[in-house]
Amino acid sequence: MEPLEIFKVKTKIPEEAEAYRSILSDVISDLGVANSIGRIYVIITPEDSLFQMAVILRGSPPLIKTSDFADVSVGAVIRNEIQIVLRDEKYLPDLLEKLWAKYGRGKVIQRDRKTIDVVVENIDAEIGSIKEMPIFDPKRTLLSKLVEMAIRGAPEGFRVRYHSLNGNEFIFVASEDAMKPEWVQQGHQMLESIKGG
């Protein structure tokens, strides 16, 4: 599935849909979720104060491990050190947090911006486990980003909200009146209509 291969916005008046499409694409690019979204279908019915959105995500992004963004090698053998050299600083805070939790602050020494030494008991055993250590789960932030996108995109007064993320399928319905089950039902139908192919 290509990013944003289906991007449909429907309203009664076509010009309004066009305007809303532009708002949504701005929000999507602001949040940097364009690559995660495969298909998106939005129907807005201002007369009923109703905003419905169905999204199909492009496969779930893989877990990020230490070896994905850093080189892990044997450091000073006399001091029992493993050296981690970062290629990408983006995940440094998450990595440090995980290392501190496992080895303790005293044993994790950050020599400079991109180098971290870890003092361990058994170099050979730990080097593998550091390499494979899961550092960051993009899925965790994706849901919050999707909800943020939906809330920013929907008209502000629509504060009664329903959202569900089921595997790769995300549904969001918002209104300013009490939620009707058929609206959520319609959301599921919208999702069906962009599935397949």
Binding site: I13, E16, A19, I23, D26, S49, F158, E176, D177
Partner: protein, 311 residues
């Protein structure tokens, strides 16, 4: 009646700009606002109509730019339904920016509960604050149905002219309570910088200018007892404390008055007793009250028919 004054904006280098100020003073014009920015300065001023060519010539000599600014001396409230990211900063702030380029002073007002359709409402305090301005500009969104059927309830209790901006192309008559509708400036999530968007903003500024012109004509039929610009000058001369007020536009002109950004409890007596001319004090020709904006002083000048004096 004093000479007819015309509003102009001078933009140029800060070097030797005082020559303009000196000339303006000699001609009997008024400096309304001076905004220095690094090596540039922007002067908003009222120039006597017959002497405009003198100022233009001097501006040319100083390699500055002079342009007519129809909105000078007005204070416009730019009202957005709420302060949330849905309504601000884009479009509303760009609208305000373009009004300021036209010479107006703007106040951005985000209502507490203006969002939505059925649930939208405004508070008494907000309405009173908006009513202190010359014009209220409501910045609305994309949907025709909302703008025509739901949002006009926010206009209730607004006594000043109402300008509405929104996305769809509508006629002013379709929106109950609005004095002017300007389309193609709806909700956007980016800064307005495409040529058609900028064109829409220019048109907006122009149309607001038409309303201001109409209001000026209305006032001219029964003129103000004293020009607000004159009161402004008297404040600068008689209340030196205004020099140490650091808000932008410490004296904000309106079509029929001005806002003095000094605390009301400490200064209102002195403002009221300011002598304008031979024993005529400001309180004789204007109502001075506590503004809804912070604790500033709001001066509304009375009409000639009401007080029988014209200074």
């Amino acid at each position: 009646m004093a000479a007819v004054l015309e509003p102009y904006i001078y933009e140029g280098g800060i070097h030797r700009h005082t020559l303009i100020l000196e000339l303006l003073e000699d001609l009997g014009g008024y400096l309304i606002q001076k905004t220095p920015a690094a090596t540039e300065v922007t002067l908003v001023m009222l120039v006597p109509r017959d002497d405009v060519h003198l100022i233009e010539q001097l501006a040319k000599d100083l390699l500055g730019k002079i342009s007519k600014a129809a909105l000078t001396g007005t204070e416009i409230a730019v009202v957005s339904p709420t302060l949330a990211s849905h309504h601000l900063p884009h479009s509303a702030c760009d609208i305000a920016e373009f009004l300021r380029r036209g010479g107006a002073n703007t106040t951005m007002i985000g209502l507490a509960r203006g969002m939505g359709r059925r649930v939208a409402l405004s508070a008494d305090y907000e309405r009173r604050l908006i009513n202190e301005h010359d014009i209220a500009l409501f910045s609305f969104g994309t949907f025709q149905d909302c703008i025509i059927n739901k949002k006009p309830k926010l206009f209730e209790g607004i006594k000043i002219p109402i300008v509405v901006t929104g996305g769809p192309d509508l006629k002013t008559e379709e929106i109950p309570g609005a004095d002017m509708y300007i389309g193609n400036i709806g909700r956007v999530a980016h800064r307005l910088r495409h040529s058609d968007e900028l064109g829409g903003l220019d048109l907006m500024s122009e149309k607001v200018g038409i309303i201001v012109e109409k209001m000026r004509e209305d006032i001219a039929r029964d003129p103000l007892a004293v020009l607000p610009a004159r009161v402004m000058k008297e404040v600068q001369e008689q209340i030196p404390e205004i020099e140490s007020v650091y808000t932008p536009a410490p004296l904000t002109l309106q079509l029929d008055g001005l806002r003095i950004k000094l605390p009301y409890p400490d200064f209102h007596k002195r403002v009221e007793d300011m002598e304008l001319q031979d024993n005529i004090r400001l309180k004789d020709v204007a109502t001075i009250s506590l503004s809804k904006m912070k604790n500033y002083i709001l001066v509304k000048v009375k009409r000639r028919s009401e007080v029988g004096i014209e200074i």
